[in-house]
Symmetry: C2
Subunit: 247 residues, 2 copies
Amino acid sequence: MPQRQLAFPQVDCADCPIRHRAVCARCESDELEHLEAIKYYRNYEAGQTIVWAGDKMDFVASVVHGVAALSQTMEDGRRQMVGLLLPSDFLGRPNRERATYDVTATTDLQLCCFRRVPFHDMLSTNAHVSQRLLEMTLDELDAAREWMLLLGRKTAREKIASFLSIIARRDATINQNAKSGEVAFDLPLTREAMADYLGLTLETVSRQMSGLKRDGVIRLEGKRHIVIPDFDVLMDETGDDADGGVF
Amino acid sequence: MPQRQLAFPQVDCADCPIRHRAVCARCESDELEHLEAIKYYRNYEAGQTIVWAGDKMDFVASVVHGVAALSQTMEDGRRQMVGLLLPSDFLGRPNRERATYDVTATTDLQLCCFRRVPFHDMLSTNAHVSQRLLEMTLDELDAAREWMLLLGRKTAREKIASFLSIIARRDATINQNAKSGEVAFDLPLTREAMADYLGLTLETVSRQMSGLKRDGVIRLEGKRHIVIPDFDVLMDETGDDADGGVF
DNA sequence: CGCTAGCTTGACATTCTTCAACCGGAGTGG
DNA sequence: CCACTCCGGTTGAAGAATGTCAAGCTAGCG
């Protein structure tokens, strides 16, 4: 395994890019000092496994840079991704000793880690952290339910379009991209990982990507860079309400 | 609409059947008094809608008796169930004014309700409630992820077998049934609702139920009462690890 | 230069959906 | 009391969507 040096710096909480969205978002400066004292960073390369389901996991963490995936594997090898963690997302269950899912880095990744037991203890004393964690968990539950609709009821083409719109949106909130007419971003996942996300085979993913490209909904520059000439056209392909269901 | 009288009594918290598993599970007697003062009951008949997605929802609640379903509907009518709430499960998001999903009673149902805003305020002052809510939300997230594996990767037959095993297990924990060799229970869902749960059509549900019956995995007494002669045989049909993945 | 990983494409097989008919019990009105 | 209808459920036949198996492409790298 090549020991390429990862370029993520380790910074003070005050300079942290996820300071205002992560589990620490609501902390005051004294609480932040406490967190600062018990935190440590870990870096992973794209493709590396962080833990396997069933392994001991003695830390919880926030994603600082990069993307991590949670997946489940059946005995015969069928795989389903069940979580996609982007910067500021939280990894791990404070009161659980062992990982429930396989966790892998799908891009180069930096985690801001806390030892599990001390962090769990802090939940009972630090309301700002526990409240924020509750809020984030409820948001993840909503995201999981949206994902369930995708898995259970959407066509392959709708799945791909939905996935692209999700990534485009999350990329926009992270990078504050001006979302003028044209939107562009890099896919953080291989076709195979996309298939695991969407409950499809990688061949079907590839075919539907080609289909969307053929129909002018997306442009492909290389295999991973996506350009969306008109975001509304993409949204029409997702099967979702145009206006998010509010009227 | 016939005004059949529902038979659920309204009781003191001390006598409540979900006292030790619901969001109030960790409360001390003084906290319980506070909850007792602000709670109220609502009853619904099987089939009734509790709220539609987008409606104002000015309460949160615990399911006391019966079963409620959360579902999402696409513009063209495709439906996916995204939550199945059994006794002690929590309904609603304390900091959200409008319902995100359609909520329906799939059986006769009793809710123990709290007005949303006072309950939300209480979360910042009552650690026992907020900690329990966090724990329950994390459990729901795990359940949602298990469900995602089912939706994305399991065959129709595996989906049905998994669903039956889930209901059998939850029924057992609620009713403290001795799970001797034979297990029996009533389905709380129509074939159509099962289809919405499993991401299938109701015809496929029906066919797979017939298949499992033909193969002796289940017995059907009427349309809704299920007898499972050998639970291990059913588990073999779910596609899951026999031992929950621990080894 | 040739290898490999990631990806694309084609041909065929399978699973599940769709459309349609039918069944049986419960409730209803003549 | 009986015919009628409705609802939930079952079954069949045909078709569409997706999976499977196999071949081949391309960029990057040793």
